[in-house]
């Protein structure tokens, strides 16, 4: 009864049919990626040219975005070109890691096996202190080491201050999590 949609998604399934799911990826614990329905972790590919520097930075416990070296505009998610001036000259400056919750949900079952032991759990979209155009998805925690379902979701609110925390998931993948900050934090 779960709802569905749309392009990209089923296209992705077609790609999987062609065997791309079996691509060896340095980030995968076993070296081979099973389909989502069977995987222990859902991981980002860390070896793609346009996005690898982000994941390299999180492994070094730094949060970065892209900045256009021609016009100076920052952007996230990463893209090969700057939508403001079309330049492909870019760098990856570190940001403060301070953010505010822009929207939040609670994910209820049925979910993928990788998340089944946590559901229901909250997920957030945060807006970075560096600008309204810089938003990232993630999970919230009250203290380092917490699981993603440790927080009471009813305590979350839009505008709530958070700060990045880095969670080492596998040898290759470190995910940014969002650590709740005391009210009045920037």
């Amino acid at each position: 009864m779960l709802s569905s949609l749309t392009a990209g998604r089923e296209d992705g399934a077609r790609i999987a049919d062609r065997g791309e799911a079996m691509l060896v990826n340095a980030a995968a614990p076993s070296g081979v990626a099973p389909p989502m329905g069977q995987a222990e972790f859902i991981l980002p590919a860390t070896d793609k040219a346009d996005t690898a520097p982000f994941w390299q930075a999180t492994r070094e416990k730094r949060l970065v975005v892209q900045r256009c070296d021609s016009c100076g505009k920052t952007r996230f998610p990463p893209r090969p070109h700057c939508g403001a001036c079309r330049s492909d000259k870019l760098s990856w400056p570190e940001v403060s890691g301070f953010a505010k919750i822009f929207s939040h949900i609670v994910v209820y079952p049925p979910v993928l096996p990788a998340f089944a032991k946590y559901a229901p759990f909250p997920a957030v979209l945060v807006e970075l202190a560096e600008g309204k155009h810089l938003r990232m998805f993630g999970n919230v925690i009250a203290k380092p080491g917490d699981t993603i379902n440790a927080i009471n979701p009813d305590s979350l609110y839009i505008g709530q201050p958070v700060r990045v925390h880095f969670e080492v998931l596998t040898d290759g993948v470190t995910l940014p999590r969002w650590l709740l900050q005391p009210e009045g934090a920037r």
């Binding site: 009864m1 709802s3 691509l23 990826n25 989502m36 949900i105 993928l112």
Partner: protein, 386 residues
Amino acid sequence: MSVTTLIKDRTAIAGIGMAPYGRGIESSEEHLAGMAVKQALDDAGIDAAEVDGLVSYDMEVTALEEMASNMGLGDLRFIAHTSCGGGGSCAGVGLGAMAIVTGQADVVVAWRSRKRSSKESRWWMNQPSIVRDRQMWLRPHGVVRTADEIAFMARRYMHEYGATQDHFANVALAFRRHANLNPTAVMHEKKMTRESYHTSRYVADPLRLYDCCLETDGACALVLVSAERAKDLKQKPVYVHAAAQGISRDSSIMVQWYAEDMMRTQAVACAEGLWKHSDIRPKDIKVAEMYDAYTPEILFTLEGYGFCGRGEAGPFTDDGNIELGGRLPINTNGGSLSDAYLHGFNLVIEGVKQMRGTSTAQVQDADTCFVSGSDLVPTSAMVLRR
């Protein structure tokens, strides 16, 4: 562009077909698709060999050339796939109208067939667990299903404009009541009350089960011809008055998270193109068939196309306004929420029925109908008239 290339009222939907909708249907998607196309051709009274244009969705399982062979169509001169799943529902008609008006084709068939009722068909179970595209910014955090994505939009919208779950309930209840009038709707016999809505389980808080569309099997199809040709055919012509597609600036699929203004959905770009070419204005629309994978999409669509001002769509759903007998009845077949989930093509078919006067929730004297695809993906919309 010379005026003579405008599509306004120059093509008409002359035939419609619906394969059975339901759950656990045994026929293949390809088989269902053929049933719908065959029925649409019979409905129009047009020989399959006359079909020279064919359009379907980018996600359609049956290839265009296979459909052509299955139905014994003639040589095809216009073929196309529409963009982005449920966004493309009206695009098939719009592209077909362009093809006919510009002489590329004379008889265009468009269809959609889906089998989604089985649990094994959930797309997300079979995705690679290492995410290589832009979903890498969502999926590792457990934001996997489209319900999760729309829930982010819904929460933010509620926060900014004071919309409530009661407004979402208005949508779910209205469409269920329409489905209760429609014998072919999957939820025809199932009643919904405000209490059953509010006690249905959460899928992605703030969205409950009854905020989410059905997962069903089925297919539907239509035949499009020139307005001139339609006059001589079996059915009363339903004219394509205006049709448009759109991708709004800085938009993304589902959660509009790149855009500073999250509520500037794909509908904004599409609406500009649609109303530019339409003599019929939002206030003149008598009935609407709007894409409803999730209840909040109806609110976003009402605002995106100018039926309501920004933030006003929640209260607009009060007082039965969107039900049969109200100011703007929406999804009179039950919609994706209560009729069937066919990527919005069943909404196109319902629009045609309203203009023919044959809907099971017929709006009295309805002579204009608005139809839209999903406003959270690259989208399309149209205005039909009789």
